[in-house]
Symmetry: C2
Subunit: 170 residues, 2 copies
């Protein structure tokens, strides 16, 4: 059994995988007669070149059963996929930027507990949405349109990968 | 003085102006091994034909001072604009689908208190983001790219339009 410790999310740590959706962006300016601050252009919404369009949806999800077992990852080869929690529900992100077949050591994991979102760049291998402890909702922006846009990789049965939620890395 | 009573938001009432971003969409299906329900394609993200792209941003806003006075509306002629509150902060929507110059009777107002979002269709005249009572954050999807994308209309000084938050319409 391999028990992975999730990292804290930072824009720098996540840069190989995509964007962090948070208000701390460098490109920010006052709008609406100074009533509001606009934190601009937080994500590259990549809908590809094959007739794609932005698809705005809401995922209403049950929490992932504990312990979190990573038995598969998936990717969307035709477009990016952005998740923003509608609330501060904790969720887990598991990604890799290497090519399959994967080992446990190829996976990078993040535990997000403060309402920030993530945008997976086009084709990034990732664990499907993984809220923890309670039901939650996410606003999602990904690619709509024709074409086959989901590949899956299943880990071998004898490779049991879990996430150590009690001892996240610093 | 003209004091407008806001309506409750419904997809039907809002249809002339754009989309309501809510999980009750007709097009919904189970995903992620039945862990989640996907409420799909909730909005038309319209970035026009002149080199536009989706711009994902966060607006961090102070509340609008009370009483809410409607002294101007604006529109974005090149693209749609979508707002989803990151939380259940109440906010006010004021829109019109007629052409300027506007009278108070041209305005339709909605009070949203349950976390639902709205998407203004391209070119819709609307009050800039108007959170009530407390600071709040909104995820915004609108159009990035070249071109002049904001028109404004100011009501005459002698036309004082306010919103009656104490007596919303049913």
């Amino acid at each position: 059994m391999i028990n992975l410790a999730p990292q804290a999310l930072t824009a720098k740590a996540f840069a190989p995988f995509g964007d962090v959706i948070e208000a701390g962006s460098a490109n920010s300016f006052a709008i609406n007669d100074d009533l509001a601050q606009r934190h601009d252009d937080l994500a590259f919404v990549d809908t590809g070149d094959e007739g794609g369009r932005p698809n705005v949806s809401i995922f209403v999800s049950k929490p992932k059963p504990l312990p979190v077992v990573i038995d598969m990852v998936e990717r969307h080869p035709l477009g990016s996929q952005l998740f923003v929690p509608l609330g501060h529900h904790p969720y887990l992100v598991v990604v890799t930027d290497v090519a399959p077949p994967f080992e446990a050591a190829d996976l990078t994991t993040f535990l997000i507990t403060d309402g920030r979102g993530v945008n997976y760049r086009k084709g990034l291998w990732h664990l499907p949405l993984c809220p923890l402890y309670e039901p939650s909702r996410f606003l999602v922006i990904d690619r709509g349109g024709p074409g086959e846009n989901c590949d899956e990789f299943y880990f071998p049965d004898d490779m049991r990968i879990t996430i150590d939620l009690d001892h996240p890395a610093k």
